[in-house]
Amino acid sequence: MACVYCYEHRKDLQILPVETAKDFLLRETQKLVGFDEFEVDFHGGEPMLAFPQIKEIAEWIWNRPWPKPYICYATTNGTLVHGDIKEWFRKNAKRFVLGLSLDGTKAQHDANRSGSYDKIDFAFFREMWPFQSVKATVSPISIHDFAAGIRNILDLGFSYSINLAYGMQWTDDLLPVYRRELQKVADFYLERPELEPPALLAHVVSRIGANASRPPSERENRKWCGTGTGMVCIGPNGKVYPCQAFMPSSEVADGDAVPTTFDFHDDGNFNDPACVNCMLDSACPSCYGNNYTRTGTLYTRDKTLCKFRKVEAVAESYLFGIMLQEPDKYPVIAKMKPSEKLAVARGVKIIQETLADQVEAY
C-alpha cells in the first residue's frame, strides 16, 4: 500500500519487539492516575503485517491482571483480514476492536489507497464491530466526490469519522469543489433527519456560540487530542513518544527532537499565535504531531487548510440554521439542552454573518 496522504515516510523501520511492548505496558499501566481505563492501540503502517506479534501480545495481555479495565484496538486497511487472521479476530472480537480505513466510494478509495477496495470484507467488519466508525480521509484527488463517498459509507452500513488529510497541497481551486460537496452533504442530512450529522459538520457552531458569551480570558480553547497526556507511544527503537505522529516513521528524522521541557498538560502551549484573531481559532482542529514534523513547533497549524475550515464552518452553520427552525423534525436538535441550543443558535448567526459571503466568493 502507498496511501497518497501517508504521513509515515520511512517505511523501512523495524517492528516493535514483543518483549519491549510487554515491558512498556507493564511500566505505563502503573502510571494510570486519573484514568478509569486504558486502550492498547497497535499502530502501523498496516498493523496486520505484524499479526503474529499482535496476537502474541494480545494473548499475553488477556492472561494477566491489569490495574484498570482495558481494550485492544487497531486501525487496519482490511486487506489482510482474511483466513486465519479473520477467524482469530472473529473469536476475539469482544476484546479486540478493529477499525477500518475506508475513504468513500470504490473509485475514491482505490485512488487514495492503492486499489485496495475489493480486498476488504466489509460484511465482516460490520458484523463484528457495528459500533465502530470507519476512518475516512479525503485527499485533493478524492474531494471531487466527497458527498458520494459519504453516501457509499452509509450505504455499506457504517458510521464514519472524516477529515481532510494533513500535509497535502490544498489549493484554492478546490474550495468551490469543497463548498459544492458540503452543500450536497448538508442537503442530504436535512432530507434524512433520522441521521445525526458527522462530527465534521457538528462541532464548530456550538463552540463559537458558547465562547461568544464569555470574556476572552474564559474562552474555551482546548487541546485537540491526548498527545503527551492521554496518549503515550513506544517505537520499535524502544523510545517513548507523545503519540505515533512524533515517531521516527513520520517526517521527523529523530523523534528525540521533541522538546523534553514542553508541557503537554498546558493547553495554552498548543495555541497558534498566528490564529489568535481568527474567529474559528477555538473550533479549528489541529494535529500537533503533523505541525511538529512540518514546522518544528507543535502549535503552528497548516495554514493551507484555513479557507477549507471556513467552508466547513459555513456549511455547518447552514445545516444547523435550518434544523433549528424545525426542532421537532431533527432529533439532534430536539435532544439538546436549552444551553446547547442557545450556543448553536449564537454560533450559526455569528458564522453566517461573518463568513458566509466570504465563502460564497471562493
Binding site: 481494550i71 484496538y73 476492536v97 477499525g99 469519522s161 456550538s206 458569551s213 485537540w224 482542529p285 440554521g321
Partner: protein, 60 residues
C-alpha cells in the same frame, strides 16, 4: 450555504427567547461531549490522520 435573512431572523428570535429565560443563566457553560476513548477527546471534533482509536466495545 448562505441562510436567507428570514432564516437568520428566525435563529436570532430563538436565541433571544432562550437568553431571556433566566433559568438558563447558570447553564451558559456549554460542555462538548466526547465519546472517543483512546486519545481522550479528538474524534468527536474531527480527528486528525494520526489518531486511531476505538469508538466503543467492552473494556475487560
Amino acid at each position: 450555504m448562505k441562510l436567507t435573512q428570514e432564516s437568520l431572523d428566525s435563529v436570532e428570535a430563538l436565541a433571544s427567547e432562550l437568553e431571556s429565560q433566566a433559568t438558563y443563566a447558570s447553564e451558559t457553560e456549554f460542555e462538548q461531549e466526547y465519546s472517543c476513548f483512546g486519545c481522550g477527546n479528538s474524534c468527536e471534533n474531527g480527528c486528525s490522520n494520526s489518531c486511531s482509536t476505538s469508538c466503543g466495545g467492552e473494556y475487560l
